[in-house]
């Protein structure tokens, strides 16, 4: 194998950053729900697929223009997230985390079944946000879609941090996260907060799906591997921490891409997850996690 040139390396770096941004978005969705409920929400992976599906339908079924379609897809994914919480999770009064996690797995199976039914099992293509003219940057070419991914991801992350740090809603969410009982005592409606956290998770996942499917393809299970890598990113960052999730996502994306370039693209999942296992064995609470939980 030849040593990759500088330009090639740059190309791989961009590809890695792109994936990293997507993983980060998904990881944030996992973290938001984890922070309010203490569980892994496996429906997150389907909310990613749904983002792409909704974008597809908005464009081709309703003929909406791209900006509206994107906004619609993200909103619809957020609403789906809320519905999942309200219909699927809240009726269970179990406080056993194992049971709640299995519940989200069951809900995830249902969501995939519904997607198969509504959109079929075939692979579909979604157009990028803007024209497909590649841009040259330091000798590497990048698609405008990739710039959009960076831009919108950054926007979403900042928005999330702003909500959590600066708004009453964010304060309530942090209160529920640190002590649900105490939050209930001071009059915070825990159910509503959990529903909102699912909405945010849905929005994040939906945005990730809508952004990434133009450069991959779209199918009912496209979100599974992406979603699990998002989960991996969240774990790498010490589950629950927003900064950790973004750092974990970018790290995972870049390492995966560089490993695929330098070693073997067929084994890039092996490398990504192998690395994750290694990190977990050395630092059981993730790279940025402090407390062992």
């Amino acid at each position: 194998m030849n040593m990759p040139t500088l330009t090639d390396s740059l190309q791989f770096l961009f590809a890695g950053l792109t994936n990293g941004a997507i993983y980060a978005l998904i990881a944030l969705g996992f973290c938001v729900v984890h922070n309010t409920m203490g569980i892994v929400n496996f429906t997150q992976v389907d909310l990613v697929s749904l983002g792409g599906m909704f974008l597809y339908s908005a464009l081709f079924l309703f003929g909406l223009p791209m900006p509206l379609a994107l906004a619609g897809a993200v909103t619809a994914a957020a609403v789906t997230g809320m519905a999942v919480e309200r219909v699927g999770i809240r009726p269970s009064r179990s406080d056993n985390h194992l049971v709640l996690i299995f519940l989200t797995i069951g809900l995830s199976v249902i969501l995939r079944g519904i997607m198969k039914l509504a959109w079929g099992k075939n692979r579909m293509a979604v157009p990028p946000l803007t024209a497909d003219e590649p841009i040259r940057l330091f000798g590497a070419t990048i698609l405008p879609q990739i710039l959009w991914i960076f831009l919108l991801t950054a926007g979403a992350v900042l928005l999330l941090i702003w909500i959590f740090r600066r708004t009453t809603l964010g304060l309530c969410m942090r209160a529920v996260a640190s002590n649900a009982d105490a939050a209930a005592v001071v009059g915070i409606d825990g159910g509503r907060i959990r529903m909102i956290s699912f909405a945010i998770a849905g929005g994040m996942g939906g945005l990730a799906g809508a952004l990434v499917t133009p450069i991959t393809t779209l199918s009912y299970d496209v979100g599974v591997l992406l979603g699990l890598k998002g989960f991996a990113a969240a774990i790498l960052g010490g589950f629950g921490s927003f900064v950790g999730a973004v750092a974990g996502g970018v790290l995972l994306g870049v390492l995966e891409s560089l490993a695929a370039a330098g070693l073997s693209s067929a084994y890039k999942d092996v490398i990504a997850f192998g690395l994750l296992l290694l990190v977990l064995f050395i630092r059981p609470a993730g790279l940025f996690g402090s407390a062992k939980r």
Partner: protein
């Protein structure tokens, strides 16, 4: 003690053993009763899965841990058996045993660091391990045959008779399944089973009573991996063909749903869960398209109504009702 009391005492103190004997007896005559190879094929699949599900239930239901990657051990068992017999021409029984030992060792090495993790980190680690195994099975095509799989795996044979039809395999698979069921029931009722259940419910208290928490988890994890490996080997030698699609994370999730529906910590529940999930597609022939939805709905409904699973949940309900009644009668 009147003779009647004596009989009642005999039945109540041997209820588990008698139930197993009854099941064995039923399975002994089952092939003569149905004869249809297609139906036998389905019940054989239940037997193979049951072996893995009991192991997984000991890990999830008793030890209270989470594993979303048990299909990996099923796959390692199947591929281990297949590679040793197809490429090296080793006797299938020997291959099966060697694979089980190797998988047990692998699980042990994986378990030492992995089981120090808790909850979500453990879920991720087991998922990750499954994805790694699956990708290797897919990509290392010179050895594993890649996506097109491995064919020509020899049947097992016993005393010169090849176990190559559904009836013969029925006796082998169910014989193994009944053995594992008995061992599982024994373990569950032993002091060690009690210690495992204690670990699942409160690790700190368990440790302060003298239970070696980490060691107990590792032991049960290794046992469940070995059982999955044996199930995988049986699967490979029964169908003589395997490919990676049987060992994905979705299969791991399916194994977990079998455990969950049957009941966390109920060995009999595992039999029910494995049977239900495997029979379900047969009932749902007409609405193939709704299969996933119905499958998911069952899991969700069970978990919402009876969080401990159908068999354990109903057992708990019944037990509470009987106790209340006994209590009211006394007062």
């Amino acid at each position: 003690m009147t003779p009647r009391d004596r009989i009642r005492y005999f039945f109540s103190s041997h209820r588990t053993g008698l139930s197993v004997c009854l099941l064995a007896l039923f399975l002994l005559v089952y092939p003569a009763w149905v004869g249809n190879p297609y139906l036998l094929g389905i019940s054989n699949l239940i037997a193979v899965y049951l072996i893995a599900v009991i192991g997984l239930n000991l890990f999830i239901g008793y030890a209270g841990q989470i594993s979303l990657g048990h299909a990996a051990y099923l796959g390692l068992g199947a591929y281990g058996s297949a590679l040793l017999t197809v490429h090296l021409g080793i006797n299938p029984w020997l291959a099966m045993a060697a694979t089980a030992v190797a998988v047990g060792l692998t699980a042990f090495l994986v378990a030492i660091p992995t089981l120090r993790l808790s909850g979500h980190y453990l879920a991720m680690a087991t998922l990750g391990f499954n994805i790694v195994c699956y990708t290797v099975m897919m990509q290392w095509d010179r050895v594993t045959g890649g996506p097109s799989g491995l064919a020509g795996i020899p049947h097992l044979s016993l005393a010169g008779v090849a176990i190559d039809d559904e009836t013969r395999f029925h006796y082998l698979a169910w014989g193994a399944a009944i053995l594992v069921l008995t061992l599982g029931l024994n373990l569950a009722r032993s002091s060690l089973g009690l210690a495992l259940a204690a670990v699942a419910q409160n690790e700190t208290a368990a440790a302060s009573l003298g239970i070696q928490v980490h060691r107990a988890k590792i032991r049960i994890f290794v046992l469940s991996a070995v059982l999955a490996s044996v199930a995988g080997s049986l699967f490979a030698h029964c169908y003589t063909f395997i490919n990676p699609d049987s060992f994905t994370i979705f299969n791991s999730v399916e194994l977990v749903t079998m455990v969950v529906i049957g009941g966390l910590g109920s060995i009999w529940g595992s039999l029910f869960g494995a049977s239900l999930i495997i029979l379900l597609p047969e009932f749902l022939h007409f609405f193939e398209t709704f299969r996933d939805i119905i499958h998911g709905l069952i899991v969700v409904t069970v978990l919402i109504l009876l969080p401990q699973g159908l068999v354990s949940g109903l057992k708990d309900l019944l037990r509470m009702r009987l106790l209340r009644k006994a209590n009211n009668a006394r007062n």
